[in-house]
Symmetry: C2
Subunit: 224 residues, 2 copies
């Protein structure tokens, strides 16, 4: 028998990950101890490991393109896909506190987000196997471009094709609209998007989605 | 600390419900006792209840159409959305055994699938509030049409706009392609699909998806 609070958290998390719950601003406070246990107790890491295993299976199944795959691309999100904000969100009660733009900016400027090990392994595998990796982030180029570029490098994300930030022209656009437009441009250059990985459904919906999308878990916040 | 087997089942189920795991034919046999506990121990029902709550919240947020909503439609899948095959799958080790077309047909012909209570409640709410409900099923019209129609009626699914079966012309098509074409026809008649509910991602992907989709849990089988 699962305790009532744990049971509610399981249902809530399922609704988040299956894209049923949308537009939520904070994690329900009765979930605090459960989201903490999920993020820190090993299940989050095991969930990531299984998804990366599935991505690797998919890669091994796909038939190489006729031009030897030189234009085969993968799209990876940055925050809580490549690098982790868990340390920051720990101080925000794992998302039970509302989003704090100034606090998050200060954290991101430090450039100290650790790599998510499973995704770093995937990234290195993709680069080693000749895929062109595009890192697409909603972080603002002007204010966070340098810190983020440095952060990714110091965590081992080396060898990507391009790192794309949100520029002034996209300000006010939803993540889904902005990322769709970037993917459209990537495809227009002749790349074929064979996979797309992100922790938010807004990374994985919209236009030019590529052949396959993979949703990484994130029960701490929702980006529209 | 979650036991290793339970932890693996959680990761696996998350991958299924987030649409990361695709094309799987059976539930991994090490998950048997966990999928059984999930389906029969209450968590499955609680997960369904929360999703139906979210559907009701969505309905209360949407602005009625200009014509008073007379053409506002909902799409509901049938198997393991409106009515449950859990009793049948219990005899198939909750999906650890491979799909058995003849066995499933014999079960469906009995017309004894019980309603899923949360979805029956949703269905009645939709009908009472003037939505046009379309039940779209991959069941074959010729062989299972009568038994299914009777089964839905004896379980209280009364007042729907239309119940649509797979006909010979769609044979061999994926559920996603078949259901997309049916939704396209529904929209062409002038209906606006405001919501779409199913236990399979193939119910919820493709074309003419409507304004919002809701994925119900189903860790027992995968329909492409």
């Amino acid at each position: 028998m699962i305790p009532e609070g744990a049971s509610y958290f399981l249902s809530w998390r399922l609704a988040v990950e299956a894209n049923n719950a949308r537009g939520w601003r904070t994690v329900p406070s009765q979930c605090l101890s459960y989201v903490e246990a999920y993020m820190l107790g090993g299940q989050y890491d095991r969930d990531l490991d299984l998804i990366v295993d599935q991505i690797l299976s998919y890669i091994n199944e796909i038939v190489p393109s006729s031009d030897d795959g030189a234009m085969d691309a993968w799209i990876l999100d940055v925050d809580d896909t490549c690098i982790s904000n868990l340390v920051y969100y720990r101080g925000k009660r794992f998302g039970c506190d509302p989003f704090d733009p100034a606090g998050f900016k200060a954290w991101a400027l430090k450039g100290g987000c650790p790599a998510i090990p499973a995704v770093l392994g995937l990234f290195k595998y993709l680069v080693r196997n000749g895929f062109k990796v595009f890192l697409i982030t909603g972080r603002d180029q002007e204010t966070l471009g340098q810190a983020t570029t440095d952060n990714l490098r110091n965590q081992g994300f080396i060898g990507y094709e391009r790192l794309i930030f949100k520029t002034a022209g996209f300000r006010g656009q939803s993540a889904s609209a902005y990322k769709s437009e970037i993917r459209r441009r990537v495809e227009k250059e002749g790349y074929r998007i064979v996979g797309n990985v992100g922790d938010q459904w807004s990374d994985l919906q919209g236009e030019c989605l590529g052949r396959r999308a993979f949703k990484l878990p994130n029960p701490m916040y929702f980006v529209p």
